[in-house]
């Protein structure tokens, strides 16, 4: 019963069918080509390595819907909803190609009738139910429950009604068709049931035929409208997100783009860091098209939750809007020079300077984003532009960078120099000398060697390592800054200068292996220094301790008494996947009482100190991020929150103090807790 063999007002069904298809395809392709050109405006970047692995990851993530099922708060069933919708609609999508495209369009009628068709319709019948259910559910959530993370939009409503209509029309078409054929069977269950009902009610053949024909064409038109509408709407993510998954950063969650130091003066004048789309990489542009505006990043971002103006969702949206606005100008479809110039920067247009500095680079947005969007490197790129080119930054950052430039460490003046190197006397150590034959270095970091509170933790760590029989050296006064705060603040050249200087220092001592105490040093030394020619074995002390306890080289005999919880530092857990190790070690404390926080491991919540935020005053009138975290700590009822990062330790202590929890709750470095759990030697 092909509708295309019939003529409509003297025009062949085939002509109408293909005519409409060609128009839709033209509109669709024109948009896709435009978007492709926009993405090509971005700078080159090789994301095509390990392609097999990338494709495998994409397919498995997409079809398993792991992307949307992860990182959803308890009780938020949207992930399952999306998965059902995806699976259900995928069935329909395939059927459109086979049953409408091939069977009707190309007249391959052998695909119709018979068991194959039965089976297909049975699947569709059931899938349709799921889809309808999910759409209604989504509508209820969006328009009645209104969760924080979703924005109301016309687009969403339009798409939902579109999909719903497609489903209803599908049932109308199939039941009328079965009724017209006078068939009765149990499969496909729903269409057949409706058909039987229609026959029982003696609905006339003409009516059935009329409804069938109209529904069929309407259904077809809706599919075409849907196809054309997608690339013009926020549902672009349907098309783009698979590619975004495919081109994600492979080994690490968060990458930062260094500013090339090989630039000539003219090139530098053209721009440093990111200020407009011309400075983005193509993947950054792909990112903004892939965003589904699901808002997962928005409801998890510590800056947003503490009342700052930054929302990673809105940030991405801003860049997308800006891109779509100025891309036609940049692509030369319109010769308005003035607009073109203005279009070159989104700073203080779609993206506010205050937003750029509000990010702690914690990376939680990227962790929870279902489509692997990279927010952090864009934000840092913008900082690079502000700092390197425009010389504008918060006062605290300016002081920190000045200190780093003049005194080689981010902490201010005499106060910090007072302790430099002194801790090693207290720990009974000597600084490493050339020719000592020691190839393992304990890299303490500026905070661990300059700030009183952190120095205590450093001494505990040195003692712990000594007791475990590790042979290691320290640089003492000669230990430079790794440069992390400069890089996170966007002052990338300073970072690069330090990296190169440090490479020479470490080579001169013939160091083979570095144990770091600070996760920020760990991250820079391990992940960012190789680019500057230093590729040593870098281990965080929690990894080392885990290995030692597993090999029974280190054991604990005293219990701690208090109820413990562990705060994962972002740069250790999320950035580098180290979260099991500290837990293993804590688990070895006899009779330990331990309670996990709601947000932990890879989805840990920032202490507020990362991304050079140790030196940025939090905006007045907003909540402090460390206070939010302390509230989460208190929910566990723990008496001690353990961490393994000097910044986290300071932030947690500050939080405890200003919330008046001193005496009830204490913050400890893991090494301190472990040392206390050992017998005195």
């Amino acid at each position: 019963m092909s509708l295309l063999n019939i003529s409509y007002l003297g025009i062949s069904g085939y002509v109408i069918f293909w005519g409409m298809f060609v128009i839709a395809l033209f509109l669709f392709s024109r948009r896709i080509y435009f978007l492709y050109k926009v993405i090509r405006l971005g700078k080159g970047e090789d994301r095509f390595d390990r392609i097999g692995e990338r494709i495998k990851y994409t397919l498995s993530t997409m079809f398993s819907q792991r992307c949307t099922l992860k990182s959803i708060k308890k009780g938020d069933l949207a992930g399952i909803g999306h998965a059902l919708l995806f699976w259900g609609f995928s069935c329909f999508f395939i059927s459109y190609i086979i049953l409408i495209g091939f069977a009707e369009g190309f007249g391959m009628q052998f695909l119709r009738g018979g068991t194959f068709e039965r089976a297909v319709f049975t699947v569709l019948d059931i899938a349709g139910l799921f889809v309808i259910f999910c759409i209604l559910w989504a509508a209820v959530r969006r328009y009645l429950i209104k969760p924080d993370r979703l924005e109301m939009s016309f687009e969403a409503g339009f798409i939902m009604s579109m999909v719903l209509s497609l489903m209803v029309l599908y049932y109308a078409i199939e039941s009328c068709r079965f009724a017209l054929m006078g068939e009765s069977s149990r499969w496909p269950p729903i269409s057949m049931a409706i058909a039987t009902y229609l026959l029982e009610k003696n609905v006339g053949q003409a009516t059935l035929w009329g409804v069938f024909v109209w529904s069929w064409w309407l259904h077809y038109i809706f599919i075409l409208v849907f196809m054309v509408y997608i690339p013009y709407s926020k549902h672009l993510h349907i098309l783009v997100s698979p590619f975004n998954l495919m081109f994600k950063p492979m080994d690490r969650k968060v990458l930062i783009e260094p500013v090339s130091s090989d630039m000539s003066e003219e090139e530098m004048v053209k721009g440093l860091g990111i200020s407009g789309i011309q400075d983005l990489k193509w993947k950054d542009i792909l990112d903004v098209f892939a965003c589904a505006k699901c808002g997962r990043c928005h409801i998890n971002c510590p800056a947003q939750l503490s009342g700052k103006i930054l929302s990673p969702r809105e940030f991405i949206k801003g860049i997308k809007e800006h891109t779509l606005e100025v891309a036609p100008l940049l692509l030369g479809q319109n010769g308005d020079k003035q607009k073109e110039e203005r279009g070159k920067t989104f700073i203080d247009g779609k993206v506010k300077e205050e937003e750029i500095w509000a990010c702690t680079t914690c990376g939680l947005c990227q962790e929870v984003c279902p489509v692997e969007i990279e927010h952090v490197r864009k934000l840092i790129g913008l900082r690079q532009n502000l700092v390197l080119e425009k010389n504008t930054m918060p006062e605290g950052i300016q002081n920190m960078l000045r200190n780093m430039q003049m005194r080689g460490n981010p902490w201010a003046g005499a106060q910090s120099l007072r302790l430099k190197g002194d801790w090693i006397n207290e720990a009974g150590m000597e600084p490493l000398k050339e020719g000592d034959g020691i190839s393992t270095l304990l890299w303490v970091g500026c905070t661990g060697s300059l700030i009183d509170r952190n120095v205590k933790a450093t001494i505990s760590l040195a003692e712990l390592l000594k007791r475990a029989g590790i042979k290691f050296g320290v640089l003492g006064e000669g230990e430079p800054c790794c440069g992390d705060p400069a890089r996170r603040a966007g002052y990338d050249f300073q970072f690069q200068i330090l990296a190169e200087e440090n490479r020479e220092i470490l080579r001169s001592y013939n160091i083979k292996e570095i144990i770091t105490s600070c996760p920020h040093c760990y991250n820079t030394l391990k992940n960012e220094y190789p680019l500057y020619g230093l590729d040593l074995k870098i281990i965080h002390y929690t990894e080392l301790l885990c290995d030692l306890v597993k090999r029974d080289k280190l054991s604990f005999s005293k219990t701690t008494g208090s109820l413990l919880t562990y705060h994962d530092p972002c740069y250790l857990s999320r950035y580098n996947g180290i979260y099991q190790e500290p837990r293993t070690v804590i688990g070895r404390i006899p009779d330990v009482r331990y309670k996990e926080m709601e947000r932990s491991c890879k989805e840990t919540f920032c202490c507020g100190g990362g991304g050079a935020h140790m030196w940025i005053e939090e905006k007045r009138g907003t909540t402090r991020i460390n206070h939010l975290r302390i509230e989460e700590v208190t929910k566990t009822g723990a008496n001690a929150v353990i961490t393994s990062c000097p910044y986290c330790l300071q932030m947690l202590e500050e939080g405890i103090e200003s919330k008046g929890l001193k005496g009830v709750l204490e913050a400890k470095e893991l090494s301190e807790v472990l040392l206390a759990a050992m017998e005195k030697t």
Partner: protein, 263 residues
Amino acid sequence: MNIIVCVKQVQDPEIPPSKFKIDPETKQVIPPAGVPPVISVYDERALEAACRLKDKYKAKIVAITIGTDKASEVIRHAISMGADDGYLLCDPAFESKDSFKTAYILSKAIEKIGAFDLVLCGRQAADWGAGQVGSILGEMLTVPVVSFACDIDVVDTGLRVKRVVSDGYEILEVPMPCLITVSSEVGLPRLPSGMRIMLARKKPIPVWKATDINIEHSLLEKGHEHTEIIGLVVPERKSECEIIKGTPKEAAYEIAERLVSML
């Protein structure tokens, strides 16, 4: 406008007292490990003043320093802040604590650099704090000198300078060429932009020896110094604390009496 800024590398004035060591024999400060030398804070402000003039008017800034090869770092710092060129005056014969000798060496270098409209110095060095080089240099260059400036601007007749005095400030006008020493009230020096850092890294810094600037060696010999260091000591830091007992009223009387007796 051609501006020459004289800068000096000094031991970090923020060296904690516990780490500040001297050698009384050679009358030298022993640089502590792990605390790198820095640009003298007042000279950095002089540079800032120069850069502000450059921001506003067309200007070329040249920085000069006397020191060991390590001192090329301060020239790089000057370039990264905004100087166009810089020279390091490095010769064993230059080693001295004498302000006249220093000024003489600088004057010879300035002579070699050529015509200038303005020479800027810090009001004093952050290490010895003599505060003399600027004025002596002005004398040697035979140009007017304004000291302790906190603001400099160009006017028809030359420069209008706001200078800090003990009970406020004065505004003077001075013709160019002239020499101005800059006080910290100028404001915070800028953080070098990334572009300038890279520029400064790549820029070669010429080194001038005594012969390069036509200095008569005989004038640099010991006998020609106007100052002599007799001794160098670290002052003893003492603090005593006594708590005066009694009711607040009694204690207040007691304190008042003691203060009066000290007058």
